[in-house]
């Protein structure tokens, strides 16, 4: 007897506005939050656009001590977790602390905080033997990003399984899947889970410049993220977080919680091919999708929407299109597919969780967010990518996918409350 998992709370911090409501408004209006980098002088870099958050830590409820101690990404995780817990209406104090846990996904951890501290202790790279006397006490928390999960766990008093999942750009999806597995096997009844990344730091721009993964479309920043468009030339870095309250289904029912969706299946595979490269046929992503559908006992034809990885690199979008055709068959041409990275950029490990948030909101409102900046169809990406304008669309069952450096390919199926009740269709 497997225990089913439902999503009862959503918290989001994304470029373009704070909170879940602003996030969803941006996406459904098809606006973009990409702009010229303001966090540092981007002049020396090849790619100079980003999806930045105008984050006000104090207005977001963080204390000065929390801000001092935590990396920006950890702050994001905490703020989003608090929103999710509030949204779920759950009274944490009434629950056994040992039956609740936390999973936070992150691809690059405290990369921003580490770079800042490195500059101090190395005197801007002058000293190889960096000076410990200038190190801040919280440096260890930046060093090992399990501190992110520890911060969230302490905040919500979790004493069950707590940890970080870090599988590159599939971290967000894999973190939510991991939390579902823990509930499914009985290790917890409630998990606060999701992902956060805040990678907008010079070292990140430098390394993605070096492999030409990010776009050089610096003269047109608001239209720089162009998934599936024939003129796409790389992704736009972003930042953000999405956290969820996940509950065992009966647990949610007993407290009469409002349910966004059921997490009905997930799977992950590796391409075992290249740390950054993708084979054009998308075979392993297709295998992950097929396995997730099987776990969800869902026929491809029952999918109403697909939230794509859609990073906007030449190779990803081709790879993914092939994977959809392989895994979904003829339905690949009928189901609406879109990439919200066109609007909020690619926030590495966080984006998978943000895409889950968009998916459950699509189920709630029966609206599919568009792929912005899709002006020039690419013959190699010849599916219905919902160009530029959101679509009102009966959406009960959603597939969301991710692809990450290291070869990770992950997929998750989410079902609306109707579908979850078993018989809406």
């Amino acid at each position: 007897m497997t225990r089913e998992v439902v999503i009862t709370g959503v918290g989001v911090l994304a470029p373009g506005g704070a909170g879940t409501k602003e996030f969803w408004r941006l996406l459904t209006e098809g606006r973009t939050a990409t702009r010229t980098v303001t966090f540092f002088d981007p002049a020396p870099f090849r790619s100079r656009v980003a999806a930045e958050i105008d984050f006000d830590a104090e207005a977001s409820g963080l204390t000065a001590r929390e801000v001092r101690r935590m990396d920006r990404a950890a702050q994001f995780a905490l703020v989003a977790a608090r929103e999710a817990v509030g949204d779920s209406g759950i009274e944490l104090d009434e629950l056994d602390p040992g039956r609740r846990g936390v999973t936070v996904g992150t691809a690059v951890g405290a990369t921003t905080g580490l770079e800042e501290e490195y500059r101090v202790v190395s005197d801007d790279g002058r000293n190889h033997l960096v000076d410990h006397r200038y190190a801040v006490p919280h440096l260890y928390g930046h060093f090992v990003p399990s501190s992110f999960a520890a911060e969230v766990a302490r905040d919500c008093g979790a004493e069950g399984p707590v940890g970080v999942i870090s599988t590159g750009c599939t971290s967000g999806l894999d973190a939510v899947a991991h939390a579902c597995e823990l509930i499914g096997e009985g290790a917890a009844d409630v998990m606060v889970a999701g992902a956060a990344d805040a990678p907008l730091s010079p070292i990140t721009f430098a390394c993605f410049d070096a492999i030409r993964a990010t776009t050089p479309r610096n003269d047109d920043p608001s239209r720089a993220s162009r998934p599936f468009d024939a003129t796409r030339d790389g992704f736009v870095l972003g930042e953000g977080a999405a956290m969820f309250v996940l509950e065992e289904r009966e647990h949610a029912r007993a407290r009469r919680a409002e349910v966004y969706a059921r997490v009905s299946g997930f799977a992950t595979r590796s391409n075992a091919f290249h740390m950054t490269g993708l084979r054009p046929d998308g075979a392993e992503m297709a295998a992950a999708i097929t396995a997730a559908l099987r776990a969800a006992r869902t026929d491809p034809r029952d999918l109403d929407y697909v939230s794509a990885h859609g990073s906007g690199t030449r190779q990803n979008d081709r790879h993914e299109t092939a994977a959809f055709k392989t895994a979904l068959g003829g339905h690949a041409r009928r189901v609406p597919i879109s990439s919200i990275k066109s609007m909020i950029g690619h926030s590495l490990g966080a984006i998978g969780a943000l895409e889950i948030a968009a998916s459950v909101l699509a189920i709630r409102d029966h609206v599919v967010p568009p792929t912005a900046n899709l002006d020039n169809p690419d013959p190699e990406c010849d599916l219905d990518y919902v160009p530029n304008v959101a679509r009102e669309w009966r959406t009960d069952t959603v597939l969301t996918v991710g692809s990450g450096f290291g070869g990770f390919q992950s997929a998750m199926v989410l079902s609306g409350a109707d579908a979850a009740a078993g018989g809406a269709r």
């Binding site: 691809a107 410990h132 004493e159 599988t167 075992a272 290249h274």
Partner: protein, 415 residues
């Protein structure tokens, strides 16, 4: 009926030995692997000892193409993975590629690689940052590189929970094997011995500043004053028991019988630390009574209040002095995510050979009420072992192993 997951291969890279048998003979003899830091000049820092893997020439084991794109800890992990697969006699393509996955634990990723690139960026400019920085430092690198090198396309994963990670990765692998995976490579191999990593360890405030390897890392000892960081770890081949027998795996070291992870309450709330509960849930998961457990491999923080918490948890479950406890990591240092899986390897070998390796150098304080195995190795017939690992911030993990011998007996009975 949940599926039984067994260990069929071990690969070790440790400060006390390259390869399983070298490590194990050193552990049995209590031979020390701690010495002055040799990977960089640590003379100017308050802490100057480490457990370093010596005599490791990556080029002897790995193709040259991998060297510019890997941190030292990834090279160690790739070699440990190779050795584990060889030990399990896994032939390429034997289990189908999509049925084989990798689950590793990371802590700080390839931190030395990262330091070099940060230096290039800030002292020379963005054009001097390596293209390999895009993945060589990040937490998922070991899983990715191992899966590519060995053509493993199944469900993979990466966990980060500081020192608890090595056990959490193995638990994730077991979960995968109860799903649709046929074979998993799992464990932690870690290493952060570079100036930038050292400064982070110092900031953490738990490392020893003593200069004498004999007294620097002494858990459960009245002289305890922090630990010595080390590098290395172990990779294990895990399989569902029946599948391992079907493919003719040469040996079964033991079964991953039980596991649990808990998180400590915030300090000052007056609640008991959560390690005891992790032990109890892991035993219950294994269907094991406390008196079945023949040895406990302790986390052994060597910070007095943490040693106290661990000793209290062990005595609460087993009774004072009721179970042999050991911490062979006093000879290797604490290996971050590598610690848990290296202790699992040691516990499996302990059960195989009927001998408990000693906690080198330690003279235990009586008031911990532990039967700490010190001095020399202790012969003991061990059918089940408990391995504990904790991570900074409040992470507790407990893993219960059953011996391969017990399994052989069952197999005999079944015939």
């Amino acid at each position: 009926m949940t599926r039984s997951v067994v260990v069929t291969g071990i690969g070790v890279v440790a400060p006390t030995g390259l390869g399983t048998e070298e490590f194990w003979s050193a552990a049995r003899a209590g031979r020390d692997g701690i010495g002055p830091v040799g990977l960089f000049d640590a003379a100017g820092y308050p802490a100057r000892l480490a457990g370093e893997v010596t005599g490791f020439e990556a080029a002897d084991h790995l193709p040259g193409r991998l060297l510019p794109q890997t941190d030292r800890m990834t090279r160690l992990a790739l070699v440990a993975a190779d050795w584990a697969l060889a030990d399990a006699a896994v032939r390429p393509g034997e289990p189908p590629a999509l049925g084989m996955g990798v689950s590793t634990a990371a802590s700080a990723g390839g931190f030395e690689f990262g330091q070099r690139q940060l230096r290039n960026l800030w002292s020379e400019g963005p054009g001097h940052v390596s293209a390999y920085q895009s993945f060589a430092w990040f937490y998922a690198v070991n899983t990715g590189q191992i899966s590519i090198r060995n053509g493993m396309k199944g469900p993979s994963g990466v966990v980060v929970s500081d020192g608890a990670g090595g056990l959490d990765a193995i638990a994730q692998a077991r979960r995968r094997l109860r799903g649709d995976a046929r074979l998993m490579l799992s464990g932690g191999v870690d290493g952060t011995i570079c100036p930038w990593g050292w400064v982070a360890h110092l900031a953490g405030g738990r490392i020893s500043t003593r200069d004498d390897p004999e007294t620097a890392y002494l858990p459960f000892d009245p002289r305890a004053a922090g630990h010595v960081p080390g590098e290395g770890g172990a990779m294990l081949v895990l399989e569902e028991r029946r599948a391992a027998l079907e493919r003719g795996a040469p040996r079964v070291y033991g079964e991953i019988a039980g596991y649990a992870a808990t998180f400590d309450p915030a300090p000052g709330r007056g609640r008991e630390p959560a390690l005891r509960r992790a032990i109890e849930i892991a035993l219950s998961d294994a269907g094991a009574a406390p008196d079945e457990v023949g040895v406990v491999f302790a986390d052994a923080a060597a910070v007095p209040e943490l040693d106290r918490a661990e000793a209290d948890a062990i005595t609460a479950v087993f009774g004072p002095g009721a179970v042999p406890v050991t911490a062979p990591k006093t000879a290797t240092g604490r290996l971050l995510a590598g610690a848990g899986s290296l202790d699992v390897a040691a516990a499996l070998l302990c059960m195989r050979d009927g001998v408990i390796p000693p906690t080198a150098k330690v003279r235990p304080a009586a008031d911990y009420r532990l039967d700490l195995v010190t001095g020399r190795a202790r012969p003991a017939r061990v059918r089940a072992a408990l391995v504990l690992a904790r991570g900074a911030g409040g992470f507790n993990s407990a893993l219960v192993l059953r011996s391969g011998a017990a399994e052989d007996d069952q197999r005999q009975e079944a015939r």
